[in-house]
Symmetry: C3
Subunit: 159 residues, 3 copies
């Protein structure tokens, strides 16, 4: 049993999927896993917006950035051949027929397996993402926390 | 002598080139090196299609994906300034005059140096790539094999 | 106190920023940090051109490549939502209001903290970038030097 950390910087569906597959694989082998979501990777942690909830306090520019970001992991684009979402839809169809889990399912498994998921607070400020927009059960921290975790790990990836 | 692993996720010519340069450099220094090719990175392992060979059994969507993927490492695009292949051609011209090896040459060297190359079977299923489309002398495995190799290595990169 | 290495392959403003934030964070925790700039990442080390200086000897194709590259770190594009620089400008405005440092400021801090910055000489040849175009106080080396540094480090990232 050892420890692994993964920085999820990318918000591409395929890269986020790769991050979760590695993380879940390691957790299934009894490794301790920490995923640190930063910049575009934060999109993977967004929850379905609740129309009745009060809007978060954001500056105009923060609204622009957070407004452009995918509202939900299944809305992330592919890094290649996305074609405005058609590529992702096609890939998900193949994944289903090949019994490959979607990012939402991988995320759920990651939470069930006790993978520690940390949202980078500095990136949240820059992109104008509030805590109320992210899923429950995650932690909030900065680079010092990441480095502390990485020091204890034997595999550290930046995706 | 130590061990290194590199996940080749990207299918960009420049990134695949960087992966092979690091891998070959490490092997030249007597390191044991494992490269794990997944998603778009699988394109780097494709061999020239044999027109006489029977076509692989693929679903319609798998045909679409694998049909869009570059047929050969030298057909990979640059991550920047590709301009429908013109950028790659220009870069290869400069590389030649500066005695820098192409991806095909780097791959050949990697095989000569005994670098272990693994194709990710799950990605092959999703992208609809069959074993008969990939070069000889490689292995086929999944994330558990990667993690086993990474646990033994002192440098693990995701490219 | 331990050692970290970061390969800065990407020339995207957001990815270079992430690289420097991790590097500076580690240096602030008394880690020894080496950053190895290669390919598009070399743009982060470019200095403002001096109009009076003699032009570097470059082939025609090298001139084309180096001419397309950003002339200064603050001219790097975002990996997403760049919109010909408008996205980067917007992000920098939010960063300022949230007291987040720009890449230029992060670079300055990195130099003050004694972070070792190495420019990859092979990439310089391929992209046609001369030493006179890069900032002072950096080192020049190839993959063997990187591997030597990585062997001594406990965290190695490819960005």
């Amino acid at each position: 049993m050892s420890k692994k950390t993964i920085i999820v910087f990318s918000g591409d569906y395929d890269r986020v999927m790769a991050a979760f597959i590695i993380a879940n694989g390691a957790a299934a082998m009894d490794d301790e896993v920490t995923m640190f979501f930063t910049f575009w990777g934060l999109s993977a942690l967004r929850k379905q917006p609740n129309p009745g909830a009060p809007a978060a306090a954001k500056s105009g520019l923060q609204k622009v950035f957070s407004g452009m970001l995918p509202k939900h992991p299944e809305k992330l684009g592919l890094s290649k051949f996305n074609f405005a979402g058609a590529g992702r839809m096609m890939m998900k169809k193949v994944m289903k027929s090949e019994n490959v889990m979607t990012v939402s399912e991988l995320l759920e498994t990651a939470q069930e397996q006790g993978i520690k998921m940390i949202a980078c607070t500095m990136s949240m400020d820059v992109l104008g993402i509030g805590k109320e927009e992210l899923i429950d059960g995650i932690e909030y921290a900065g680079v010092a926390t990441y480095l502390g975790e990485a020091d204890e790990a034997n595999v550290n990836l930046f995706i």
